[in-house]
């Protein structure tokens, strides 16, 4: 026992202080080396291209009209004087409005429904997630069979219920109806993720808060509005931001369902047309930059308006 007591300081003395060790061996590079692969890929495949796109958006980069030359704000001037681009900006804002609002509302409703355990809940969640896993092009093709104006499922059902006498044209004629119909398809795709994000936030809300509210005489609606909703705001914020990113970048659904008609073209479709059909990469970069800045600004706005820190 005595021996042990005597040994302790000896052992301590034999181990040099950690600061001395570092000084002797130089800085510890291991953490840096471990993050290097990821950093290289992020820098090489995201930041460098983004930086190049930013720079090139101020250059005239036209494959059919070389060489590359500095153009100042000319690409942006041409963008904002192009009727097709302006129309697609309006369309995209409508996609965002419909998409973010609907997917968030549906996400909250579905998350509330799935909040408590019940038989078949996990199967229901698995089925609900399916549309999220499907590629947009596939969804567009599937929904073509529903919206089709000559032989679509919806017209067929409405007709057999004697609700309509002639088949309706849902896509292509009326801009608002076209955008709503297309956006419904995207909402079908993005709502599962919104639901899961809000459901995760709901799971964190302590049950005793609801019990306390109930004891204080709160109705279920008042409990939801005054207790649940404020506490799941972080989850709702993330759900809204992901929906915003998806809807601002909508491409597959309008392209498959409505072609290039001005009633439904989105900003990403215009970026594709300008870059890969007109081969005007400078203007394409400029439009991508506009889209990126718009995404950042609206995302920040959502965070500012909706997000509130929550501590339990």
């Amino acid at each position: 026992m005595t021996g042990t007591t005597d040994l302790r300081p000896t052992v301590r003395d034999a181990t040099p202080p950690s600061s001395d060790r570092r000084r002797r061996r130089g800085p510890d590079l291991l953490p840096y080396l471990l993050v290097t692969p990821l950093a290289v890929f992020i820098i090489g495949l995201a930041l460098v291209p983004a930086g190049l796109a930013l720079v090139q958006s101020f250059y005239r980069v036209q494959e059919l009209n070389p060489p590359v030359r500095f153009a100042g704000l000319d690409n942006f001037r041409r963008l904002f004087s192009d009727d097709a681009v302006l129309a697609s900006m309006g369309n995209t804002m409508l996609y965002v409005l419909f998409g973010v609002a609907l997917s968030t509302l549906l996400g909250i409703v579905m998350a509330m429904t799935l909040r408590h355990p019940f038989r078949g809940r996990s199967v229901l969640i698995a089925i609900m997630v399916l549309p999220w896993a499907l590629p947009g092009v596939v969804e567009g093709i599937v929904w073509t069979g529903i919206w089709d104006s000559n032989s679509g499922l919806l017209n067929s059902v409405l007709s057999s219920l004697h609700l309509i006498s002639d088949y309706h044209v849902f896509l292509g004629n009326n801009r608002l109806l076209t955008i709503l119909a297309i956006e419904l398809v995207q909402v079908w795709q993005i709502t599962p993720l919104s639901t899961l994000l809000i459901l995760a936030a709901l799971q964190n809300v302590p049950g005793d808060l609801h019990e306390a509210a109930q004891l204080d005489g709160c109705s279920p609606w008042a409990s939801f509005r005054r207790v649940t909703l404020p506490l799941i705001r972080p989850g709702i914020t993330i759900a809204m931001v992901q929906a915003l990113i998806q809807t601002l970048n909508v491409f597959d659904q309008p392209y498959v369902l409505n072609g290039s008609a001005s009633t439904g073209t989105s900003l990403t479709m215009q970026t594709y047309f300008i870059s890969f059909q007109n081969l005007d990469f400078g203007e394409g970069y400029a439009l991508s930059l506009v889209l990126t800045i718009t995404t950042l600004v609206i995302s920040l706005g959502i965070v500012k308006l909706v997000y509130r820190p929550v501590e339990f």
Partner: protein, 442 residues
Amino acid sequence: MVHMRSYARGIAAVIATTSLALATGCSTGGPSGGSDKTRGATITVALGSEPPPKASLAAFTKKTGIKVKWVTLDWDSLQTKISAAASSKTFFADATDVDWSRVGQLGKLGWFQPLNSKLKTKAMGKDMPQLTSFTSGGNVVGIPYDASFMVTTVNKKLFGEAGIRRMPTTLADYTKDLQAIKQKGVVKYPLNIPFAAAEGLSTYWYQTTGAMGGTILDGKGKPQFESPSSPGYQAAQWMVDALKKGLVPPGNINVSDSQGQQTLMAKGQVASTFSDYSGNVGTLYDVPDSSSVVHQVAYLTTPGASGTGPNLSNPDGIGIPTEAKYPAAAAKFIEWFTSARNQVDFAGVNGPAKVLKNYNMPSRVSALAVMTAKGKLVDGQQLTLMLKHSSRPVFPEGAPSWYPEFSRSVYTNLHAAASGSKSVADAVKAMADSANSLSSGS
């Protein structure tokens, strides 16, 4: 512990070095000029169709020593990848799709290698009437592997039910016959025009313009359809009128070309498609799995303004990108892939084992002759005559380099005229303005 750390550091260093090397490799352009090697080379072929049967490719490898790595991509992705790879001067494929509509663009940009010196293009041209659609500035940039031209198809049974025994030979008679079919209630909407804002609408208008005796652009790219009396203007008016007067289903405002053929024409919901795909009778309308009008549909010599009109070509070709690794091997592959013998096999003349899935129609007249002689091509004689004598390039002097932008203007404006958001006059003016602006380089 110290050993463990050294080991971890070593691993981290290897990972870091590898990822840096990978990243550097990713950003480096591929070889330019390529190798003359053929035997032992593995070439990448990227097309919108399924690969030929394994046995066919194995026979090619055995004969030439060239291995083929086949990549199937949809048309849009293919065009995007061709543009992205060529503009960044990186390797994408040794042989890939050359669409007729991009020949001018590809020729001007030098993204594809001239095939004149690599293949016997003069001899090929004699057997492939559509080779002219792939010539830009005297250079052949692609070889057509699948003949495609626009034809008029009619459902003879439905025409017969309306009491029409003699098929129309002029556009005026054709229109009258369609009206008669509607009036007699044989079908509610007798004509299929795909008004979705997509390429199929542009080609429909080109074919209708051709039938009316006109052209779209002159040799300098100036529009030939601005005047209300021009065939192009009248073709646009005829198409929109057909929709407004109830000859075309109202839902066609959002129907694409293939969709209309599959869901309307093949189901007997319409009686005719003025601008249909060559080969559709044999590959779609006479196939019981996909059609309810088997043996009812026939090709019609294009009803023109005052007699037979042309059949405009929109074939698919295959060419060699400038950044190909093995251009010589790719040329050998193209020669093999487009040979008359293979085209006959791909079209199913020598049994299902040799069929190339979704292969439309051979681009060689000699292959068509074999198919017709063996009774393997529905209306073969008529199609051969059309290919030899009446198929014409949409742009006789080659598609302009700005064609994709012009075509988008055509189909979005025609779609707008059909949906009523623009008048025909405004739509035609917008299309002409687009052509004028693009051809003047502004």
